[in-house]
C-alpha cells in the first residue's frame, strides 16, 4: 500500500514507539514536541508541549496512560497520554538520552549523556501511580562507562538493565545493585557506536544496530550473539517483526555528507532481512535523508520509519509481503 506520509515535525525524527495495542504511534524529534498519531490512518492526535530541547526517546506504559520522554533539555517528563498534561519532570545535570519503563511500569530506566565533565549515567527512578506522590529520587545510579549511552532497556523480570552506546560494548547490569554482570566480546561484537537497541516482544532477545554497518541479535539473558545482519549502510535504527521472522534496518550516509552525493548513494532505504537466514529480503525506499527511527506495529502488519528529513512514513504491508518465501 502507498505509505502514509506524516508531516508533523519540523526537525529530524529521533524515535518512534507504538503502544501495546498498536493503535497509537508516538514520535520524538529534534523539535521539542513529541507527537501522538493514530497508527492506522496517520491522523495526528496531539502533541506534548513542555520540552525545551530535542527529544531523544520515549516509552509508553502498558495501559497507554503514561508517556515518558527524555530530552536534551536535561529533563525527563511524565505525561498523561490522553490529555497531554505534564505530570512530573525529573531534572538532571546533563541531557537525557534513553528512557524505558520496566515490566509493571513501576520503574523507569533513564540514561544521561556525558556533559560538562560529568560522566554518563544510568539511573532508575520509581514511578508512582499517583503523580502527586512522585519524587525525583533515583533508586539506583550507575556511573556509566565511557561515552554516550544511546540505549538502556530492562532485561527479563526487571532483574537486569541492558545498555549500549558509543563505546560499542553491550553491557548487562544488575538492576538491584548496579553491578556489571556481562559485557559483549570486543572481537565478535560491534566495532563502532551502537545507535539502537530493541527488545523482542517477549524480551527474550534483542537487536542492536551500529554504525559499523551491521545489526546483531543477542540473547537477553546470556548475552550470546545469535545473528549478525550485514548491510552497506551505517545502521541508525532497527526493529524486529513480531509476526514474521523478519528484522528491518534503517540508516544511511551520515547526514552531514548527504548533500555531497546522489540521493541513491546515501542508502536511505529501510532494509528487510530474514531473521534466521540473515539474508536480505528487500527494501523500502522513500526517505530523502537517513532513517533515524523504526518501529513495528505490535500486530506486525505495518511499520513506520522516521527520517532525518522530518517525515514519518507509515507503511501498511501488502498481502504479498506475508507470502514471501525464502
Amino acid at each position: 500500500m502507498r505509505p502514509i506520509l506524516m508531516k508533523g515535525h519540523e526537525r529530524p525524527l529521533t524515535f518512534l514507539k507504538y503502544n501495546r495495542e498498536g493503535d497509537l504511534l508516538f514520535s520524538c524529534a529534534k523539535d521539542h514536541t513529541p507527537t501522538v498519531w493514530f497508527a492506522d490512518n496517520g491522523e495526528r492526535l496531539g502533541t506534548y508541549r513542555g520540552h525545551n530541547g530535542a527529544v531523544w526517546c520515549c516509552d509508553v506504559s502498558r495501559d497507554s496512560t503514561r508517556l515518558i520522554t527524555g530530552s536534551a533539555d536535561q529533563t525527563v517528563k511524565l505525561w498523561d497520554v490522553q490529555t497531554g498534561v505534564q505530570l512530573y519532570s525529573f531534572n538532571f545535570d546533563s541531557p537525557a538520552r534513553a528512557v524505558d519503563f520496566s515490566v509493571g511500569d513501576k520503574f523507569a530506566v533513564i540514561t544521561t549523556d556525558p556533559f560538562m565533565g560529568l560522566p554518563s549515567t544510568i539511573q532508575v527512578k520509581r514511578i508512582v501511580r499517583d503523580p502527586s506522590q512522585q519524587t525525583g529520587e533515583s533508586v539506583l545510579t550507575i556511573k556509566g562507562p565511557q561515552g554516550r549511552i544511546n540505549r538502556a532497556v530492562w532485561g527479563p523480570l526487571n532483574k537486569t538493565i541492558i545498555s549500549a552506546g558509543e563505546d560499542a560494548v553491550i553491557r548487562i547490569w544488575d538492576s538491584e545493585t548496579g553491578q556489571l554482570l556481562k559485557e559483549s566480546d570486543k572481537e565478535t561484537g560491534h566495532q563502532k557506536t551502537v545507535t539502537s537497541l530493541l527488545k523482542s516482544a517477549d524480551g527474550s532477545h534483542f537487536l542492536t544496530g551500529s554504525l559499523d554497518k551491521s545489526a546483531k541479535l543477542w540473547d537477553s539473558r546470556t548475552l550470546t550473539l545469535i545473528k549478525t545482519y550485514v548491510t552497506e549502510r551505517p545502521v541508525n535504527a532497527c526493529a524486529i517483526s513480531p509476526l514474521l521472522d523478519h528484522v528491518v534496518l534503517g540508516g544511511g550516509q551520515d547526514a552531514s555528507h548527504v548533500t555531497t552525493t546522489d540521493r541513491r548513494a546515501g542508502k536511505f532505504e529501510a532494509k528487510f532481512f530474514h531473521k534466521i537466514l540473515q539474508e536480505e529480503i528487500g527494501g523500502v525506499k522513500g526517505h530523502f535523508g537517513p532513517i533515524n527511527a523504526l518501529a513495528f506495529n505490535p500486530d506486525g502488519r505495518s511499520f513506520s520509519s522516521g527520517g532525518e528529513d522530518g517525515y514519518v512514513r507509515l507503511h501498511h504491508f501488502d498481502p504479498d509481503y506475508f507470502n514471501i518465501k525464502m
Binding site: R20, P156, Q253, D262, A265, G266, K267, I276, P298, D299
Partner: protein
C-alpha cells in the same frame, strides 16, 4: 620519543633536591658519548638525512694506478709531475691526494700510486679513461678503484671449478591455467589486505586462493601473461607466483620505485622512480631500471632529469606519461622505444643499446605507438610553420627504420592513434579545425596494415560536427565502435572494415541513438561489448551483441568506476573503488549481462583479472570447436547441473540447520518465559494478561460534559 619534560617540572625537581638552578650552567653538561639517557636528540633525524650517499662506501674517490716505472729518488719528482699532469686533466686531484709509496730500503718507488679525487665520479672517469694507458712500451697502466681492492683480493689464486648446483625443478608457475573448472583468477586490494580469488560463477561467489596483509605498499600488478604478480615497496618491486600459493620469486631493488611496467612477453620489468629535489636549484631526477624478470639482473638503467623523460616533442608538457618505454615487436620483447625531443629512441633487447647506435630523428614528433604484433611504429608530427608544412602520420618499420607509409594531413589540431589488437588496422582520429579555426571536427583515417601498399581510407561520421567521446576496436576483429554526439545522450555507431558486399571498404553496421554511455568495453573475444555510462551517468551498463545487433541486457552498478572483462570474455567485473566513499566493492556479471554476485568491500582500491597467455590452439582447431560446440557444451552443462543440484542440497541443509538452531533458542525462551510468567504477573500487580490474544476489545462509551448552559427559551403556545 621520551616524554617531554617542561621547564616547570625541572624547576620543581631542582627545588626539591635543593639545587639552585641559576648556578648550574646547563650547556656545560656533557653526556658520555653514545649515551642519551633515553632522550632522543631532536637533531638526530636531520643528521641522518644529510648522510651523503657518495661517501657511504668510504674510498670511492680514490684510484690506484699500477705498472708505473720503478724510479730512484732522483727521478721521483719527474714521475710525479708526469702522473699529476695526466690525472689532473680528468679531474681535480685533492691537495696531497697523490701518494706514491717508496721502498724504505732501496729508496726506489714501488711502481704504483694512489690518487684521490674530489668525487667518485671523477675517480670512475679516470679509471675508465686511463686503464690501459701506455706510458711507454713496458709500462701500461692498470687503474682500479680503491674500493674494488678488497673485491679483487678475495679472488682465490687458484682456479676452482664453479660448483654446479643440482637442478631443482621450479614450481609450475602456470598451474592456475590447468584449473579443472577452467576458472579465472583475480586480485583485489581492499583496506590493508590484498587477496587473490578464483571467480567461481557456479557457486556464485569467489573462492579465496591467497590473502596477505600489507602485501604491497602502493599497488599490485599482474605481469602481461599472468605468470607473476608484482608488488611495489619502498625498496623496490617484487614478483610473486607459484603452483598453489604465492611465493616471492624475485626482488628488484629500486629505492622509492613509483611505477612499474612489464614487457608484453613479460621477460622484462621496467621500474621508475622520480626524486623531487629537496633544493629547488637541483634538477628533478628520474631513474629507470630495466630488469630481467627471471634472473633479477639489471639489464640497463637510465638516469637523468625529469625534462628529458617528459614526452611530447614540443616540450611544453611537463611530467612523464607512463609507460615511458613502450614495447614493440609483439611478444618477443625485441624492441622498446621512448620519445624525446625531436627523436624517437628505439632500443633492442639483445644488447640493450640503440638500434644502429642512434635515435630516429623526427622533427617535432608528438606521439608514437607500436603495432601490438609487428615491429612497426606509427608516428604523429603536428603541423609546422603555421600550416606551411602539413601534419603527418607515418608508419616506420623497425629495425630498418624505413617509412612504410605516410599520410599528410591539413589543418590538424590533434591526432590519436588506435591499433587493432592483431595489428591489422590502425585508426587515426584526426581533429581538424573548421575554416574559421574556431572549432574542430573529427574524422578517421583508417590504415589496412596487412594489405598491399597499406591502403588508407577516410571515414567521416554522418554528422561531421559530432564530438567523439570514445573509440574502440573489436579485439581480434574487424569492427569498431564509436560514441559520438553531445554528452547527455550521445549516439553509438558500429562500423566494420569488411562486410559481405564491400571487403575492402569500411561500412556502417548500426547506430544506437541516445545512449547513456561514455565508455566502450569490448569482450576480449570480440562480438560482445559493454556500453558503460561511468562517472556522470552513475554506472549504467548495456550488454550488446554486435553480431546480432541487439541489446542482451541492461544493468546498473551504481557509481561504478571501473569495468574489466575477464581474459576469456566470459565474465565482466564492475567495481566502485575508493574514489567514492560509499558503495565500495565489485559485481561480477556474465557476458550477457546477468548479475552473478556482488561483494561489498570498504576501502576498495583495485580489481585486476589475471591475464592469460594466448591460446595454444590453432585457428583451424578453434573453428572446429566452434562448429561442434554442441558436443562439447553437453558435458559442461551436465557438470553445471550437478553443481547446482549439489548447491541447492547444501543450501537446504544449511537452512535446515539454521532453522533448527533458531527453534532451539525459541523453545528455550518460551520455556523461560512461561516459568517467569508468574513473577511477571506479580510485577504487574496481578494483571494476568501476558499475551496479545488474551485481551478482548471492549467498547467503552465515555460521556463527557463539555459545557452546561441554561437558557430560557421563549415558549409560545
Amino acid at each position: 620519543m621520551a616524554e617531554v619534560v617542561s621547564m616547570a617540572d625541572i624547576e620543581a625537581t631542582a627545588q626539591r633536591r635543593g639545587i639552585d638552578l641559576s648556578s648550574v650552567d646547563l650547556d656545560s653538561i656533557q653526556l658520555p658519548p653514545g649515551e642519551d639517557f633515553g632522550i632522543k636528540s631532536d637533531d638526530d633525524e636531520d643528521l641522518h638525512q644529510e648522510d651523503p650517499l657518495e661517501f657511504e662506501a668510504g674510498f670511492g674517490n680514490i684510484i690506484m694506478v699500477d705498472n708505473l716505472p720503478v724510479v730512484p729518488p732522483e727521478k721521483f719528482e719527474k714521475l710525479e709531475g708526469v702522473i699529476r699532469k695526466i690525472y689532473s686533466q680528468i679531474g681535480v686531484i685533492r691537495e696531497g691526494g697523490l701518494w706514491m709509496p717508496v721502498n724504505p730500503e732501496t729508496q726506489k718507488t714501488l711502481g704504483y700510486c694512489f690518487i684521490e679525487y674530489n668525487t667518485p665520479q671523477e675517480a670512475e672517469l679516470a679509471r675508465e679513461k686511463t686503464n690501459g694507458y701506455k706510458l711507454d712500451k713496458s709500462h701500461i697502466f692498470a687503474v682500479n678503484l680503491f674500493d674494488d681492492f678488497e673485491k679483487y683480493m678475495k679472488i682465490p689464486d687458484e682456479w676452482t671449478p664453479a660448483e654446479i648446483k643440482p637442478y631443482t625443478p621450479g614450481e609450475n608457475l602456470q598451474q592456475w591455467l590447468t584449473d579443472e573448472k577452467a576458472r579465472d583468477q583475480f586480485v583485489i586490494r581492499a583496506g590493508t589486505f590484498t587477496e587473490v580469488f578464483w571467480n567461481d560463477p557456479r557457486q556464485l561467489m569467489p573462492d579465496l586462493v591467497y590473502r596477505r596483509q600489507y602485501w604491497t605498499e602502493s599497488f599490485v600488478q599482474w605481469s602481461s601473461l599472468g605468470t607473476y604478480l608484482a608488488t611495489v615497496h619502498r625498496q623496490g618491486a617484487a614478483v610473486w607466483g607459484g603452483a598453489t600459493t604465492f611465493n616471492r620469486l624475485m626482488r628488484f631493488a629500486h629505492p622509492q620505485v613509483k611505477l612499474i611496467d612489464f614487457s608484453p612477453g613479460e621477460k622484462y620489468l621496467v621500474t621508475y622512480s622520480s626524486h623531487e629535489p629537496s633544493n629547488p636549484r637541483d634538477t628533478h631526477r628520474v631513474v629507470l631500471n630495466i630488469f630481467d624478470v627471471r634472473t633479477g639482473k639489471v639489464m640497463r638503467d637510465f638516469k637523468g632529469n625529469a625534462d628529458e623523460f617528459a614526452t611530447g616533442g614540443s616540450g611544453g608538457v611537463s611530467g612523464v606519461s607512463w609507460p615511458i618505454f613502450r614495447w614493440g615487436g609483439g611478444r618477443e620483447d625485441k624492441y622498446f622505444a621512448r620519445i624525446g625531443k625531436n627523436v624517437i629512441s628505439v632500443y633492442e633487447t639483445e644488447t640493450f643499446t640503440l638500434i644502429d647506435k642512434k635515435s630516429l630523428k623526427v622533427e617535432n614528433v608528438m606521439d608514437f605507438t607500436w603495432s601490438p604484433t609487428d615491429p612497426i611504429t606509427a608516428l604523429f608530427v603536428p603541423e609546422l610553420g603555421g600550416g606551411n608544412q602539413p601534419a603527418r602520420v607515418s608508419l616506420v618499420q623497425i629495425p630498418g627504420k624505413e617509412e612504410l607509409r605516410q599520410k599528410n594531413l591539413f589543418s590538424v589540431s590533434d591526432c590519436k592513434m588506435y591499433w587493432q589488437s592483431n595489428g591489422e588496422y590502425l585508426a587515426v582520429k584526426v581533429d581538424r579545425y573548421t575554416k574559421t579555426k574556431k572549432s574542430t571536427y573529427t574524422g578517421f583515417e583508417l590504415f589496412r596494415i596487412k594489405e598491399r601498399d597499406i591502403p588508407i581510407e577516410v571515414l567521416e561520421l554522418d554528422n561531421k560536427n559530432d564530438k567523439i567521446v570514445a573509440f574502440a576496436w573489436e579485439p581480434k576483429g574487424h569492427r569498431f565502435a564509436v560514441i559520438h554526439g553531445d554528452s547527455p545522450r550521445p549516439d553509438i555507431s558500429f562500423y566494420s572494415m569488411r562486410t559481405a558486399h564491400h571487403t575492402g571498404r569500411v561500412s556502417k553496421l548500426a547506430t544506437l541513438k541516445g545512449k547513456q554511455a561514455n565508455a566502450l568495453y569490448w569482450s576480449p573475444a570480440g562480438r560482445f561489448i559493454v556500453l558503460a555510462g561511468l562517472k556522470g551517468f552513475n554506472g549504467q551498463l548495456e550488454f550488446y551483441n554486435v553480431d546480432e545487433l541487439e541489446t542482451m541486457a541492461t544493468g546498473e552498478h551504481f557509481m561504478a568506476t571501473d569495468i574489466e572483462w575477464d581474459p576469456t570474455g566470459r565474465y565482466v567485473a564492475t567495481a566502485v573503488t575508493s574514489v567514492h566513499e560509499m558503495e565500495n566493492g565489485f559485481h561480477i556479471w556474465s557476458f550477457n549481462g546477468k548479475l552473478l554476485y556482488r561483494i561489498p568491500k570498504d576501502h576498495f582500491y583495485q580489481f585486476l583479472w589475471r591475464p592469460r597467455p594466448p591460446s595454444l590452439l590453432s585457428a583451424e582447431k578453434e573453428e572446429e570447436i566452434a562448429k561442434n560446440l554442441k558436443k562439447y557444451s553437453k558435458k559442461y552443462e551436465a557438470e553445471d547441473q550437478d553443481v547446482s543440484l549439489q548447491l541447492s542440497e547444501q543450501d537446504r541443509k544449511k537452512r535446515k540447520m539454521l532453522q533448527e538452531e533458531w527453534d532451539a533458542w525459541v523453545s528455550k525462551w518460551k520455556q523461560l518465559h512461561e516459568e517467569e510468567s508468574e513473577l511477571r504477573v506479580q510485577l504487574r500487580d496481578g494483571e494476568a494478561s501476558d499475551e496479545e490474544e488474551e485481551y478482548e476489545a471492549k467498547e467503552v462509551e465515555v460521556e463527557e460534559v463539555l459545557e452546561v448552559q441554561e437558557e430560557v427559551v421563549a415558549f409560545d403556545l
